[in-house]
Amino acid sequence: MTDDLLALKTETDAALSAATDLRAWDAIRVAVLGRNGTLTGLLRDLGKTPPDQRRERGAALNQLKDALNTAIEARKTALEAAALDARLAGEKIDVTLPPRPRAQGLIHPVARTMEEIVAIFGAMGCTLSDGPDVESDWLNFGALNIPAHHPARADHDTFYLPASDGKPPPVLRTHTSPVQIRTMLNQPPPIRTIVIGRTYRADHDATHSPMFHQCEGLIIDRDLNLGHLKGCLTDFLRTFFDIANLPVRFRSSYFPFTEPSMEVDIGWNRRTGELGKGGDWLEILGSGMVHPRVLANCGIDPREWQGFAWGMGIERVTMLKHGMADLRPFYESDLRWLRHYGFNPLAPTMLHEGL
């Protein structure tokens, strides 16, 4: 490269280095590469070069052109990056600002427990059945072997609605058992179903509400026996409470609609409320083999079919599972309580995700 070309390169490099903004940079680019630019002029003058030198001079000019182009573009990139950095340095936000509020709704604990119960018994092949809250005396009592004079009626604290047409007054169902009767009348065995719904009893204190929720189950088949009742409920309780070795005890009892009848207890610590250990027993649900009279009342021959049924309070198992002390807030709709105990609607119960 001849001296004049070397000088141009040196000059341009120096000018580029001195340019601190894109405007200065552009002036340099125009001065060198523009229509009247230095390099453009040198290229134009190539024709005037003696032919014997022209080839060599041409090669040198092309080399210089590439070098200048690269240097100019590189400087542009550097200046642009610096300009962006300078601009962004002034664009600070307060990153500690709270995000714009997005209302978060939550699922009531009763609904969550229902979902969990449905998932577990669903895995055992049960369907979910439902029925009306207002029932006839026969569906709530008579069909279930609780005749009018039965002492168990007195325990039920039944709410009555006005009678009409000389029939016994309709009742607010005291348990979800009427749906078991409806199921047996409407569907031939075998039956595997659970019933969940609102139930009503005239009782109101820290552990009783005039309205609460029950879950019952009904399993009818040819050869399922009391051992299966125990297995089914033990499997349920251990899954629901997520305690693999939860102690479960079955204790002889009496219900008009089952025989034998059993109360089911789980192991806990009465003092701390901790489930699964502690040596105390807590009654959690009632169960039994379906009474032959109940089967016969629904037209099922007890010589052919047998099975079992159970019932538990949704609120009760919810309170135990989550260590809740008082029943009354379940129905208060106190925003603070709902926020505290509510469940994410986008995380519904799915067995494969774990309960």
């Binding site: 207002v134 002492p151 009782d203 034998p260």
Partner: protein, 819 residues
């Protein structure tokens, strides 16, 4: 039922410790409800004789006592002012636990003198507040005997729950029999001697109401002296919370508990005439032993003398003929009454008595002759006198019956491997008598006291059953029920806990769907509404009639006959009503901005189909105040958004819905709507009417929506069509239309969309303007229309033509002009 351990042991020969007894009770179905064992904590404390009490050498206030414990002499330092030579006191020794503090006593040295124990105050023993000095026992208190034994506190009181089927265990003898059968000892024999009649005469029975009273016996005892009972009998009764009254009455109470056999005693001097008649009540009024007056009903069985009603049979006796200290001749009643009639009478008059409790569960009919002999013997022992002849009316009913159990059913029904031999032994221990046994089955006679086994079968079959099916089922019950009764007995005595648990066999390797489409809809609606920011609530199905009325009909048929409180008497017409009140409660707690929803019932009628499952919600107040945007009060469109989100989630086709301004009157008439699919009302939304807000003092503004989940049709299961994914870019053009104020947005949008169906794939309303820039009575609606070419890019002329079609269609449908 309560009883003391010592009373139980009058019937049960057993060495079993208390805990074994109580555990067994629970295991066999006589659930333990509590044990009151005050004496247990004091068992180690002995009665001692203070041989000498002298001044402590180094302390003014202390004494050094030399005590005789019955098996040795100990030296004890005592600070009590009343410690003195010769007294009887209670000693705790090293290693004993002091009930008051829970501390374990150690041998100590107090100011240089060794103390081997502690003389106890009442407070230290947990027996009261007296700490003025040590317990000062009478001089005859026996040295060396544990204090609770001497004080009569060593008798634990056991309380059990007796289930309605076990009338036989409403007696101490019955409990003893069950425990003996469970292997806890031997039932002591009970065979009272026949006491011969010393005279003839006295009242006699006449039954005019045999359905209520099949059999009754009685006996006159004359020359009695009816004073207070002896201490043992008073102690028995007081130990379980009964008040001793006088010997004759105490005897009846004793046998009510001891044998489960209620008795009644009439003072013969107060009876008119010689015949006691059992008949139906006739509206007379009787003053009962509880001091209250009862008007007897024709369905009540009463016992009358010539003067009138003297007892409501099996429930409560009358005051005028009751026994008191003046009684010299007594007539003892021992009867069998129909359990159902007793239950109904007791309920009718709201009388809960020990007698009623037992009669309504059914009594042992064969026990009556023995019971009256035992009662006679005890009366003669306590009150003296002489007994007349046993008089009776009616006869012992035929209670004898058999029950058969197939041994294979112990496993196939009971899930247990108990052998045939063991099963039969259990039944025999319970009093069943084997009448026939072969390799496969056993037939036993049911004992007289077990009215719950092989009972008469009363079915209440559905009237809709096909007759053959009903008959077969009834026949099956007759065979199976007695067998279940016996299997229950066999299992119960070993504890049902002993039956091995077996997991349910699978029906399919992957279970079918658990939920019906309707149930799935409610689950989806619930999750979707919560995802809209609404909090799920559970509110009561009933509420105050006055608060329900603004929200809909409150028919009498939906008003509870026996509400628990006046404000919970009416089944709600819509969950919006209870949710609105919930919002009000939150506002009162200073949380006025809430969004609440519920999935629950609304009630139209009391019929099973008169109930609808609703997803409903309310919003009140404003959006949350924050730095980025101002708080905005809730409006009807918030509620519509919630409703639309829920409907979209459950696959209601939103395109075809009709939205009309005819919501019920609790909504604002101009800012609410009913949503229909065809003729079916799916839901409603809008602002709550200001009058309702004012009437119920609800926070304003408030909006609500309701979605009738029962009205939504199950979605059809269809494969989706192929998606519309044109390769050509869509074009968007804006149009602003000037329309009359009354023109709905929906009309403009539908017209625009319909202008060129193949080309227009979307119309969005992006501005609504009413104000001074448009003429009075007009508004401007601005829409963006999206044209989607499919074959090729549109030419300018084609775009222009399509735009003109939109303008023309909207103008034709709504009278709109392009702005």
């Amino acid at each position: 039922m309560k009883f003391s351990l010592s009373w139980l042991k009058t019937h049960l020969e057993t060495d079993a410790p208390l805990e074994t007894i109580t555990d067994t009770l629970t295991q066999i179905g006589l659930e333990l409800e509590g044990v009151d064992n005050k004496g247990a904590a004091l068992a180690a404390f002995r009665i001692v004789h203070v041989v000498e009490a002298v001044q402590h050498p180094n302390a003014d206030r202390l004494r050094v006592c030399t005590v005789d414990t019955g098996d040795g002499i100990l030296s004890v330092v005592c600070g009590a002012p009343n410690a003195r030579t010769g007294m009887k006191a209670v000693l705790a020794r090293a290693g004993d636990t002091i009930p008051e503090s829970g501390a374990v006593l150690k041998i100590g040295e107090i100011r240089g003198v060794k103390s081997n124990g502690m003389l106890m105050s009442a407070r230290e023993m947990g027996l009261g507040d007296d700490h003025a000095g040590i317990v000062d026992l009478p001089a005859d208190a026996p040295v060396g005997v544990p204090y609770p034994v001497w004080a009569g506190m060593n008798d634990p009181i056991i309380e059990i729950g007796v289930t309605p089927n076990r009338g036989d265990c409403f007696s101490i003898r019955g409990v003893a029999r069950d425990l003996a059968a469970a292997g806890l000892g031997t039932l002591k024999p009970f065979a009272p001697a026949r006491i011969p009649a010393a005279f003839e005469g006295g009242p006699s029975w006449k039954i005019d109401f045999p359905e209520a009273c099949p059999w009754i016996i009685g006996r006159t005892i004359r020359g009695v002296k009816n004073s207070a009972s002896p201490k043992w009998l008073q102690d028995r009764l007081t130990s379980i919370g009964l008040r001793p009254i006088n010997a004759l009455v105490d005897v009846t109470n004793f046998f009510t508990l001891d044998l489960g056999r209620p008795l009644h005693v009439f003072d013969v001097a107060k009876l008119s005439g010689d015949t006691l008649t059992l008949r139906r009540g006739a509206g007379e009024t009787m003053r009962a032993l509880n001091g209250k007056d009862y008007a007897v009903h024709a369905d009540d069985c009463v016992i009358c003398d010539d003067a009138g009603v003297q007892s409501i049979a099996g429930v409560i006796g009358g005051e005028p003929t009751g026994c008191d200290e003046t009684t010299t001749t007594v007539f003892v009643e021992c009867a069998l009454f129909d359990p159902v009639r007793i239950a109904l009478t007791g309920r009718r008059h709201q009388i809960v008595s020990d007698a009623r409790q037992r009669f309504e569960r059914g009594l042992d009919p064969a026990l009556m002759p023995d019971a009256i002999e035992a009662a006679t013997a005890l009366i003669l022992e306590l009150c003296g006198g002489e007994a007349g002849a046993v008089t009776q009316a009616g006869a012992e009913p035929a209670w004898q019956r058999d029950a058969t159990m197939r041994f294979a059913r112990i496993a196939s029904f009971g899930g247990s491997d108990i052998s045939a031999g063991d099963a039969v032994t259990s039944l025999e221990r319970l009093g069943f008598v084997v009448r026939h046994r072969d390799a496969d089955s056993v037939t036993v006679a049911v004992p007289s006291w077990r009215n719950d086994v092989a009972a008469r079968i009363a079915l209440d079959q559905s009237p809709e059953l096909e007759p053959a099916r009903a008959a077969a089922a009834a026949e099956g019950c007759v065979t199976i029920e007695p067998e279940c009764d016996l299997i229950e007995e066999v299992l119960r005595l070993r504890g049902l806990d002993a039956v091995p648990a077996v997991s349910l066999p699978r029906v399919a390797s992957v279970p079918a769907a658990t939920l019906t489409p309707r149930q799935k809809r409610s689950a989806l609606a619930r999750r979707t509404l919560a995802a809209q920011g609404l909090m799920e609530c559970v509110t009561f199905s009933f509420m105050a009639t006055a608060e329900a009325a603004p929200f809909g009909d409150t028919p009498d048929a939906l008003r509870l006959s026996n509400p628990i409180a006046a404000d919970l008497d009416q089944l709600r017409p819509t969950p919006v009503a209870t949710l609105a009140l919930a919002a009000k409660r939150n506002a009162a707690r200073s949380y006025p901005d809430v969004g609440l929803f519920e999935v629950g019932p609304a009630f139209d009628t009391a019929a099973p189909l008169g109930q609808r499952l609703m997803a409903a919600g309310v919003r009140s107040g404003a959006s949350p105040r924050n730095w980025a945007s101002a708080a905005v009060g809730v409006d009807a469109m918030d509620a519509k958004g919630d409703l639309w989100a829920a409907m979209a989630a459950i696959e209601v086709p939103l395109e075809g819905l009709q939205v009309t301004a005819d919501a019920p009157s609790f909504y604002h008439p101009g800012r609410s709507a009913t949503v229909r699919q065809g003729r079916t009302v799916l839901g409603r939304f809008g602002e709550i009417h200001p009058r309702v807000l004012a009437e119920l003092d609800l926070p304003a503004p408030m909006v609500a929506f309701e979605l009738d989940l029962d009205a939504v049709a199950d979605p059809k299961r269809r494969r989706k069509s192929a998606p519309d994914l044109s390769a050509f870019q869509p074009l968007r053009r804006d149009f602003a239309f000037l329309v009359d104020s009354g023109v709905t947005a929906d009309a403009v949008l539908r017209a625009a969309k319909g202008a060129e169906r193949t080309l227009i794939t979307g119309v969005t309303l992006f501005d609504v303007y009413e104000g001074d820039k448009v003429p009075e009575g007009k508004k401007s609606l601005a829409v963006e229309v999206m044209f989607q070419p499919r074959e090729r890019t549109l030419t300018d002329a084609e775009i222009e033509a399509a735009g003109q079609k939109v303008i023309a269609a909207v103008a034709k449908a709504t009278g709109a002009a392009l702005r």
